[in-house]
Structures are given as C-alpha cells and as structure tokens.
Symmetry: C2
Subunit: 308 residues, 2 copies
C-alpha cells in the first residue's frame, strides 16, 4: 500500500462500473474512505452486503459530504439529475468526474449543474462486460484498458492530473482528447457495434420460417457473439444512443451505404470485390491483437468439448 | 478404441475443418486408414509434417481409391470441381459427404457430378474458429456443437445413418433438415453476422476523422468482437455469400429495414421504443447460454489484468 491518492471518494451509482471502481480503489488503497450511493434502495442494500464501500449512504448528501473526489457512475441520461442532486453538498475544491460513454452531451449538461467551487473532469473508461449491477463488478475490470479523459472549460490542470493518476493506478492507460473527437471514435468502436448487435438479434427473433430454438442452436456460427453484445444494459445504451446522436447518425449512414455496396456485390456475383473487401479487414484484426486488445486464441479461448 | 466406423476415409481439403476431422477421427479410432489430399502442394507438405493423416496423397485419385467415405472439405465455390476430380475414382458404394456452409447450391452442383454408384450425404458442421489452414485444426473442434445433415435425392438411408454416426462420434449433435431450410437458418445465425462484421470493419477503416490506431485502441468497447468474425477466411466467405444468395438477400433486406427503424427512433428521440427493443434481445442471449452454445462468463472469459 502506498499513500492514498484521495482522502474521501464518493461513488454515485453502484452498477458494474461504479462498484468495480470502488473495489479497485479499495484493493489498491487509493482512498482513505470510500462512500457509495445509488438511487435504488435495493442496490444500496445489495452493495452494503457486498461490502465494497466503507459506507453506503442513504442520501447523495451524506455520500458526497467532504469528499475530495466524486465519481458519477450513473447512466448517461441520469447524469444531469445526479449532478444536480450532489451540487449543493460539494466541498470547496471538490473534483467531480464521470464515467459516461458519451462526452460532449455530458459536458453540456453536467458542467452547468455544478457549483463554481468544484472542478469537473469528464472521463470514460473503455471497459465493461455484458453484465450489470453491483454483483457484476470486479477490481481488475480496468486493468490493461484505456481510459479517455476529455478536459473541458471546468477542468483545472491539477484536477485533470489527479483523475488521470486514479485511472493509471487502477491499471488503465489514459488518453486525452476533446469531447467531440471522443464521441466520433466511440461511435464506430462501441456504439454502432452495439446498435447493430441489438438490431440483428431483433431481426432473427422476427423471422417466421426460423424458430427461436433454431437460432439458439446454431448460434455458434457467429450469431452468439452478437447476442453477447446485445445483452448489455438496455437503459445505459438507450441513453448513449440518444446522447451521441450526431456521431451515431453520421457513422450509421456510412455503415448502411457500405452494406448496400456489399449487398450489390452479392446480387451481381462480384466475387472479386467481395474477396478484396474481406481480405482488407483481416489487417485490422491483426492490429487489435498486436495492440493487446484481444487474445489470438481461437474462438476467444472458449472451451471446446464436453467439459464446457 | 472401439471398432472403426470406416475402413478407409479420404479427406479432400486440409484446412481448418478437414484437418480437424482427420485429427478427430484419428484420436477416436473412427477409421482404419485416413488419407488426405489438398489442391495446394504447400498445404500437402505442411499436412504431412503435421501428421494428422496416415497418408497425404499427391493426387485426388490416390486419396479416394477404395475409400468407403470421402469428405469434401474445400471452399463452397470449389466443391463442384472437387466432386468432378474424384468422381472417376470412387469405389462402388462409396459415400461422399461435404462440410459446406450452404446446402441447396451444393446439392445442385455436387450431386450431378458424382457417379450413380456413389451416395451423397450433404452435411454442415456448425463449428469453426477465425483461423484457417491445417495448423489451425484440432480434434475437439466439433465437440458439443451441432452438425446439420440435409439428405437429398442421392442420399440412401444407410449412408445418412453412417455419416450421422461419424458426427456423433466426433462429439456433435446431429440435426436433419432440408437444404433450403438449412440455408435460411444459417443465413441469420452465421452468414449475415459475418457480412455485417466485414462491413463495419471496412466502414471504420474509411473514416477520415478517426485513425486506425484509435479504432484499435478503443476496440474493447465492442468492435473487437466484430474484427474476430471479420478475420475469417475471405475465400470461404465469398463463396458462402455467392452460393446462398436468395436467403442472404432476403435476410439482409429485413436487417436493413429493422436498422432503419432503430435509426429513426434515435433521430426522433424515441427512447421508450429503443429500450423496449434492447430489453427483448436479452432473452435470446439467455437462451444461447442456457443451450450451452456460449459461456456466461463476463467478456467471454477473456483474461483481465496485466497477466494477459
């Protein structure tokens, strides 16, 4: 254990990300005290039982009182209300950060809700699983992952540095960019993949000639990877789509154009163009593996055989 | 070791599937002799070095001579040529089967190329990884997976039963359906997912504002799962798309319609409809896990932390 980075940290929102951060900070001794709060009494009770916070408060006020750092880990659509709820109780010089998957909209809505005497450092850990809730969190979630920090007019150099140090200590590599650039990068790497996965799973459910049991049986051919992504938290993703509308619609337009081009190649038996396109995408896969963002093990290292 | 199911088996095409079948049959003693052949001299040499066949022949003739079972494990577009190459040398009463991912087109083109004295049992093991070539194969690839058999006019009851027994012995569960129904089921569970994955990886590569290194860095947010699928063999998939055109275009049309509907919900801030759609797709994921087609471990059980 080294000297804690923070005296008191408050985590608002105790789902997958919030509870993982609390666990990670506790494991590494990054905060002298960690308090938690969640709008759901049920989640508060479950979090108390899990014990990853020193104290789970019954009000936002109690949680953020005297906190040096307040982490907003609620769905994107609930960020502004969460910011308003904590605003009157923030200590002088408190740093507020968030973990939302969109940044420009959060800068607009959260920054204006916070008092002048607090700094705001927007952040986005690019990590997660398809599971939700306080039980799903674990201390290692952020290790080896990227965290994007998008400083805004309400960020000070010192607050950006401290929030960056927290993510580094949690095992992430920090990258800084503007909120707008973050939103377009994440639209293609995360948001559109989720939208497409949700979409194809829905299309499958609506086919009259194919039963749901057949879809499930034969899902190992590729479909199951989409179902995993499409199992992610519906409320979180609804908010992400609605709050990053410009970038999502822009990238989606390009995706649909490109898909129409592939569809045309199939209709007109243009095998050479198809093969050229498919060969090109292999290079990007190699880049993902070389960068340590995935394993090269066949089938993601899923177990084969009857033992699974 | 039990009594071998077959005296001599010939495997034509020594890629991921062919070499995995040879390894699986050898491991379980399902054939007294296994011969292999591949159109590429390089693949033949590498397969000899790997040693998963008793003999890798230099001609298709030598490979299939006196074989009780001949397995065509070449890309779909090469099936007819492979059938024509072996046809003159097939033993009386030989059974020919294939492992192609489309079935109606193969029934049309392969059955007519084979002599009357041979039976043909079309098959499709729904198993695979994103890797290709003889080095990528392993004996357990088919364990716990489904194999679809689509009997045709050239199948006899006895030949269907024997091919089914082979797949059962390799660890798969056999399901029988018509070639046409197979093609629509696989269009949604496998073919369209691959097409979409190839497409989005291409769209990402073409964005002017986002560098390839950014796409790779932030791929853990969902994109990397698409890159895995899009790393599959380009020639194999080109053939699958072109040879299952009707079902692919039909399902793709539905997918695009559904995607346009989601796009409209985003444009018009219809959060309730988005959330309803996303909640519904979670049920299908649960079905996939309950059916043992995937693991419920977070993130496919990918390792977290610096040890990975």
């Amino acid at each position: 254990m080294t000297e804690p980075l923070f005296d008191k940290v408050a985590v608002i929102g105790l789902g997958l990300i919030g509870s993982s951060m609390a666990r990670g900070m506790k494991k590494r001794g990054l905060a002298a005290t960690i308090t938690g709060f969640d709008g759901s009494a049920d989640v508060r009770d479950r979090s108390r039982a899990l014990g990853f916070c020193d104290l789970v408060a019954d009000t936002a006020e109690e949680a953020v009182k005297d906190a040096e750092l307040v982490i907003l880990a609620v769905p994107v659509g609930a960020m502004r209300a969460a910011a308003q709820a904590i605003a009157p109780f923030l200590a002088n010089g408190a740093i507020v950060t968030d973990v939302g998957s969109v940044k420009a909209a959060i800068v607009r809505t959260v920054a204006s809700a916070l008092p002048e005497h607090a700094a705001f450092v927007p952040g986005h850990p690019v990590a997660g699983t398809e599971h939700s809730g306080p039980e799903a969190g674990f201390a290692e979630l952020f290790e080896g992952r990227w965290c994007v920090i998008t400083p805004c007019a309400r960020s000070t150099d010192a607050s950006v540095e401290k929030v960056g140090a927290l993510w580094t200590a949690l095992g992430s590599t920090v990258e800084t960019m503007t909120p707008e650039h973050h939103d377009i990068v994440l639209a293609i790497t995360s948001i559109i993949p989720h939208l497409i996965a949700y979409n194809i799973v829905g299309t499958a459910a609506d086919l009259e000639d194919v039963t749901q049991s057949e879809v499930i049986k034969f899902s190992a051919g590729g479909f199951r990877d989409f179902t995993r992504i499409a199992a992610s938290d519906p409320v979180m993703w609804r908010d992400v789509f609605l709050n990053n509308k410009d970038a999502v619609l822009e990238v989606l337009g390009r995706f649909s154009e490109d898909l129409a081009a592939l569809q045309r190649m199939i209709r007109w038996d243009d095998g050479q163009s198809l093969e050229d396109h498919f060969s090109r995408t292999r290079d990007i896969r190699r880049g993902v593996i070389d960068a340590g963002q995935d394993t090269a093990d066949a089938d993601f290292g899923r177990p084969h055989g009857h033992e699974d």
